[in-house]
């Protein structure tokens, strides 16, 4: 302040005192213990960070196995550390999940739709490697035409149940790692109201988790309807467990074969399921329900789903981009389970096996959850048909092993 004065003229006493007064005000501007921004302020970036060079903040990735640790260079971090998306999501928040868990495969989460473009330098190579060479210039294809699904009904002696799920996020709202309580509640209201206007075999009811007792909650989890409480490291490190169970709930139709999870990892997870192996029927109801929900939301609120030509449907975890579809069966394959080639066979057929309580669980009684590996770069129809074809092969193999026969000629090259 004084410096400016000296440049302009010889400082007279009046000007000097005026300036001192002003500079006292400015000195205490920062020391005044609060800043009063225009909007209610929620979770923020650490403003001290700018005092430190980016290299002092760069995470220690020693022993880390994630794609995050592979692609986030010190230069990239320096370039992106002080950048934020329009809703205020930062790189640090996006990578916390991976920084805290050296064993995770991906390690990144989006906090809003713009995360994928603002931090494209990091997300693009991770997406390319995770999704088998899907380049940043590639376009994804959407195809929800149920008539194209193979007619084969999978043998109910082996296939206990069939299920298709996807996720949809509402454009203009932050995603679960970044969303605040008011947004989450608005999403809950918007989606449950749209669902409550569904009719016929899709007619159903919304159950808010805030109002549900523990016993009912556990029953719904055990029935494989309700998502687990967000206690896993994936949820807690990523900030997705905040405020649980506020704004969370489940909607399902009276027949309990069409369900929507609200505010779990994504704004909505839409699920169609039934006992037995008629995947085509499952998918038909899935697409019908999806289309109606989308229409109702658009009509009532004017809002649409997050989607673009390049990435398809935009979801919180980059692993779910594209179709966001996981098409799965619970299948009894106790003999296959003992075959050392089981995992490799699944992978060759673009399938993934899991335990029956979902991701990261173990198989019980030789029953496996078999689903599609791919999400991005192929359509919904292609992915569902891939599961149908693959499970058919697995059942043939199981039957052969039951009879003590070899499956060598069935094993895909």
């Amino acid at each position: 302040m004084i410096g400016i004065l000296h440049c302009c003229s010889g400082a007279s006493l009046e000007i000097a005192s005026g300036t001192i007064l002003l500079s006292l005000i400015f000195k205490h501007f920062r020391a005044l213990s609060a800043i009063y921004p225009k909007y209610p302020v929620l979770i923020m970036a650490n403003l001290n960070q700018k005092k430190y060079p980016a290299k002092d903040d760069f995470p220690n990735f020693e022993g880390h196995k994630s794609l995050l640790s592979k692609y986030l260079t010190a230069d990239m971090y320096a370039k992106l550390r002080d950048v934020a998306t329009p809703s205020g999501y930062t790189l640090d928040r996006a990578i916390q999940n991976g920084v805290d868990n050296p064993d995770f495969h991906l390690g990144l989460l989006a906090g809003d739709e713009e995360t994928y473009t603002v931090f494209a330098d990091l997300f693009d190579p991770v997406i390319e490697e995770y999704h088998n060479g899907f380049k940043k210039t590639d376009n994804h294809k959407t195809d929800l035409d149920a008539s194209k699904i193979l007619d084969d009904v999978l043998d109910p002696a082996y296939v206990i149940s069939s299920r298709v799920r996807t996720g949809r996020n509402i454009r203009g709202m932050a995603l679960s790692p970044h969303v605040c309580r008011s947004e989450r509640r608005a999403i809950e209201k918007m989606v449950s109201e749209a669902l409550n206007s569904l009719a016929a075999d899709l007619k159903g009811k919304y159950y808010s988790l805030m109002k549900m007792d523990e016993k009912t909650q556990q029953q719904l989890i055990d029935d494989h309807f309700l998502f687990d409480r967000p206690v896993s490291r994936h949820f807690t490190s990523g900030g997705m467990a905040r405020d649980f169970p506020d704004g969370r709930g489940i909607w399902h139709n009276d027949k309990k074969n069409f369900l929507v999870w609200i505010n779990e990892e994504d704004h909505t997870r839409i699920i169609s399921m039934q006992m037995g192996g008629n995947m085509k029927e499952v998918f038909e109801r899935f697409t019908r329900g999806l289309t109606e929900v989308e229409k109702h939301i658009k009509d009532k609120t004017g809002k649409e789903f997050m989607k673009n030509d390049h990435l398809g449907f935009v979801l919180t975890c980059p692993s779910n981009l594209g179709t966001g579809v996981r098409c799965s069966v619970h299948a009894k394959l106790p003999h296959m389970a003992k075959d050392k080639r089981f995992e490799e066979i699944c992978t060759k057929m673009r399938l993934q096996k899991r335990g029956t309580s979902g991701e990261f669980t173990e198989s019980v009684g030789g029953v496996y959850d078999i689903s599609n590996l791919d999400r991005l770069g192929s359509s919904e129809v292609e992915q569902v048909n891939c599961v149908i074809k693959g499970v058919k092969v697995l059942i043939e193999m199981e039957k052969k092993l039951e009879k003590g026969e070899s499956i060598d000629d069935l094993v895909p090259k």
Binding site: V41, D100, C180, S182, T236, D246
Partner: protein, 413 residues
Amino acid sequence: MASFSRSMFSNGNLKKVTLVAAAAAGVGLGIAYASRQQVQAGMNKSVQFPASMNYPDLKKHNNVMASHLTPAIYAELSRKVTPNGCTLDECIQTGVDNPGHPFIKTVGMVAGDEECYEVFKEIFDPVIDERHNGYRTDQLHPTDLDASKIRGGYLDPEYVLSSRVRTGRSIRGLSLPPHCDRAERRMVESVVCRALDKLSGDLNGRYYPLNQMSEQEQQQLIDDHFLFDKPVSPLLTCAGMARDWPDARGIWHNDAKNFLVWVNEEDHTRLISMEKGGNMKAVFDRFCQGLNEVESLIKSEGWEYMWNEHLGYILTCPSNLGTGLRAGVHVKLPNLSKDPRFDDILEKLRLQKRGTGGVDTESTNGIFDISNLDRLGQSEVQLVQRVIDGVDLLVKMEKQLEKSRPINSLMPK
């Protein structure tokens, strides 16, 4: 005033005044704009909802924060941010996510930086008042680390198995564990370790960073009961204190293994003095010596502890304000602990019992962890003296009961 303005606005000075005013306005706008930009950088801007829509649902909650956070206070304080960018939501997240225990009332909020206690005082003050059994906003906290004032302090080693004093210290100018970024946390580690390195004599020791520890070192520290683990309690993880683990965390201890410092666990530092037996005087002597020496060492580099005359030493959890001191013993009281008056006696002596595994554990073999209840409003010397006098009395009572003699005359008023 009139002559001042006349001379200010005389022709010759008018130009200078305008220049100064313009410069001042420019700087002022610049600061405001920069602050606003910084503020908006982290803020969830997609939120255009009034604060009332973001108010957490605390109906099922039983923690101190929930008892005092009204919608009006929430609305007022969510418009504020500390100069380091910490928000109210960050402070209360742990209390929102952890409704609490029916029997143990947790605090339910933490501070992200020193300024939180001032910027959000409308909620911190009543929380502190309740948690510390009545502490007015105009009260001053006494600090006294003059160990020479202790009387006695040689507790009977037949009964007192070990003695320990711990406290916490935070480095002024650096954010606290819920809010700090990696660069700040590393700075804490560097500042503290440089000071600890210079300790000598019976305080000569060594630092073991968590992420560089060898298997052997790790096992030794576990056997010595020194090693701390990644926090698993949701009270801590929901507050964001486990982020980036184990980056910049470590343990320092002296060669004699009776003075120990934890770096970047729940607070910037936790300092612990301990030894087997009942010589609490020696433990407290060494405690004060260590604390005072570390303080003068960090001061010589231009750093200081967070402290003020109202709240004493500033720590992450409001329950540790004041002295942050827990002075305790492991003491054998198999007879006294069975006496129905035990809890009442402890209460009157302002002492607290815990199992020997620390907080939330049960006693084994009649051995209890007995420590001071209070932290704020009394000095370190006063609190340690109370523990010494109290434990002396408890041991006297135990000896009487052993010989089946009454203890009525020994009962505290």
